[in-house]
């Protein structure tokens, strides 16, 4: 696999591993993201401000007063040549999700109809999908989570909603997502989690990170309300959702 370096002005460049979405390519992106982090900690690379992983590329931002493209690019090339560590992130997250309330899952019936399934089969396929966070963006904490069961692939809604409630769980194309804020949105809403993907009161305001493995756990409305109250009050134990692989 060849690597391309794309210029993003004099404060960033993008290391592109391919022009398609695949787990193999994303693994390499995440590995370089981790490797640069380690090299910065070890003092082998300086002047890097941050790295931004996406599905198939890593943007490296730098301070042009502290380093230069000519100095950085070969150092990063060396890291790639040296061999990238296997996925540095081993977090496995479980997201409780309530699929049962029609208010939470206004599109469940339509998704079932369009995929020739019963609503229960749609839920089972969503619960059984081996999800992985590919990239966060669009708004703080919004994760593009790939790995959706193939039988659930649908294009976005032709008419996006003006208002999607916070914490809606939605699917579109080959991905699922959880809305961190109330916002417009064109994905199919099939459930809701009582969790907030972005909570500015927390020390780590953003819950998910690129590279996280993810699965959904079905909860009923009663559990939803209980967890929602704890999240609202700030007393919810978030660490209970994080497991190491």
């Amino acid at each position: 696999m060849s690597v391309r370096y794309l210029s993003c002005g004099d404060t960033a460049f993008t290391v592109e591993f391919g022009n398609e979405i695949s787990p193999e390519i994303n693994d390499r992106v995440m590995a370089l993201h981790a490797a640069i982090g380690l090299a910065r900690e070890a003092g082998e690379i300086s002047g890097v401000v941050e790295t931004v992983p996406t599905m198939r590329s890593l943007m490296v931002t730098y301070d042009p007063l502290a380093t230069s493209r000519a100095d950085l690019e070969p150092r990063i090339g060396l890291l790639i040549e040296r061999g990238l560590p296997v996925d540095g992130n081993s977090r496995r997250m479980t997201i409780p999700c309530c699929y049962d309330d029609p208010e939470f899952a206004p599109d469940l019936a339509e998704v079932a109809e369009r995929t020739n399934k019963t609503p229960e089969q749609v839920i089972a396929a969503h619960l059984g999908s081996p999800f992985k966070v590919y990239v966060l963006g669009f708004m703080p904490g919004l994760a593009y989570v790939a790995g959706l069961d193939r039988t659930l692939f649908l294009p976005r809604r032709s008419q996006p909603r003006v208002r999607v409630p916070r914490s809606s769980v939605a699917i579109a194309m080959d991905m699922t997502t959880i809305y961190p804020f109330e916002s417009p949105g064109g994905w199919h809403l099939i459930g809701r989690t009582p969790l907030w993907m972005f909570d500015k009161r927390r020390e780590q305001p953003v819950f998910l990170s690129p590279g996280d493995s993810l699965s959904f756990e079905r909860i009923d409305r009663k559990s939803f309300d209980r967890i929602a109250r704890e999240v609202e009050a700030g007393s919810f134990d978030w660490s209970s959702l994080v497991k190491s692989r």
Binding site: S7, C8, V49, V52, L58, P64, S68, L136, F138, P205
Partner: protein, 350 residues
């Protein structure tokens, strides 16, 4: 009693900004930060602050600020015509911009309109006493975070000051307004210049673009000649697999008009980016007003880096060249103290 600046009349879009919230783009967090880095750095230097101290970014029109502290040193930078009101019944009197001022309790600073730029800056000596969020005080209003309550200032807000009073020392001013440059805006081709036809790339650098009304902290939509994509838009010529968005990235969606993405830009995006504004000219972009026109000219990465280093040298020279600001008939406090060898005078660190 806590010291503060009370907003007695709000401006249009005034937010606290430092040099940006870096390190969290991987979590989808925009950097935000000052639209005009140079303006903020100069204001901070005039106020005796480190460069990354959060200051007030004035958007188009500034607020009226009542001093609720024994004294405060403010520095204003930008084409402003500020006024000072001594008390409830006093007439406003004009004061200079591009310098520091010592204000006393009960005085009101009327920042006023900016003339010929969309942004100007106000720094206070010692900074504002507000909690940082993810390592920064920059306001990102779309998510309601940072700065003062995550939003632009409103009437009634009281900005808490880190220092309840400041010593009387010489006020400082810029020897001359900083030269932001006036030629074409320098850009570096890429990251997706190959998504545009040769004719499209030529259109981009050979014609003039006008700032539309859709210009804010997130970015500027330009009006002008349509830039041709290499592949028909119907066949995905304006779609890429989303990748990272650097400051100054110029994305060109299907309609063919360029959008320059600035401080509050999203972290990743799916439109091809024909070029990226060189960091030397980002402060200029951050000052543009609707209706103003620019041309773009391509430089190499190395040239862009050299231009930025040169600008930094000029910025440091401007800071080293601050002159003593004296009211007409006033005295040079520093010279007086030095000549009289008075001990025990406390200076703000420069």
């Amino acid at each position: 009693m806590t010291a503060g600046l009370k907003v007695v009349r709000a401006g249009l879009f005034d937010t606290l900004q430092d040099l940006g919230r870096t390190g969290f783009m991987a979590l989808g967090m925009p950097t935000a930060g000052a639209m005009d880095r140079i303006g903020l750095c100069l204001a901070n230097a005039l106020a005796g602050n480190p460069a990354n101290t959060a200051g007030l970014e004035i958007g188009v029109m500034g607020p009226d600020l009542l001093v609720e502290a024994d004294s405060v040193r403010v520095a204003l930078v930008g084409p402003l015509s500020p006024q000072l009101i001594d008390g409830p019944d006093a007439a406003p009197k004009p004061i200079e911009s591009d310098r520091s001022h010592l204000l006393k309790r009960g005085q009101t600073l009327r920042v006023g309109m900016i003339d010929g730029s969309s942004t100007a800056y106000l720094a206070v000596a010692g900074g504002f006493e507000l909690p940082s969020f993810m390592g920064s005080l920059s306001t990102y209003s779309r998510a309601g975070i940072g700065g003062f309550d995550g939003r632009k200032l409103a009437a009634g807000d009281v900005l808490p000051l880190a220092r309840p009073s400041v010593p009387a020392i010489n006020e400082r001013k810029l020897a001359q307004p900083f030269d932001y440059g006036s030629g074409p805006v320098r850009v570096v081709w890429g990251p997706q210049d190959d998504y545009f036809s040769k004719a499209g790339r030529r259109t981009f650098v050979e014609t003039e673009y006008r700032v539309s009304k859709e210009a804010d902290r997130m970015g500027i939509r330009f009006e002008g000649a349509v830039i041709e994509h290499a592949k028909p838009v119907e066949k995905g010529g304006a779609d890429i697999i989303s990748d990272g968005i650097a400051p100054g990235a110029i994305q060109v969606p299907g309609a063919g008009l360029p959008i320059v993405l600035l401080a509050d830009r999203q972290t990743v995006g799916g439109y091809p980016k024909i070029a990226t504004v060189a960091s030397v000219d980002l402060p200029r972009l951050g000052r543009l007003l609707p209706g103003q026109t620019v041309r773009f000219a391509a430089v190499s990465v190395e040239e862009a880096e050299a231009l930025r280093r040169d600008q930094e040298t000029r910025l440091q020279r401007a800071i080293a060249g601050f002159v003593v600001a004296r009211p007409p008939g006033g005295i040079d406090l520093v010279r007086l103290y030095e000549e009289n060898l008075i001990d025990g005078v406390v200076y703000d660190s420069p």
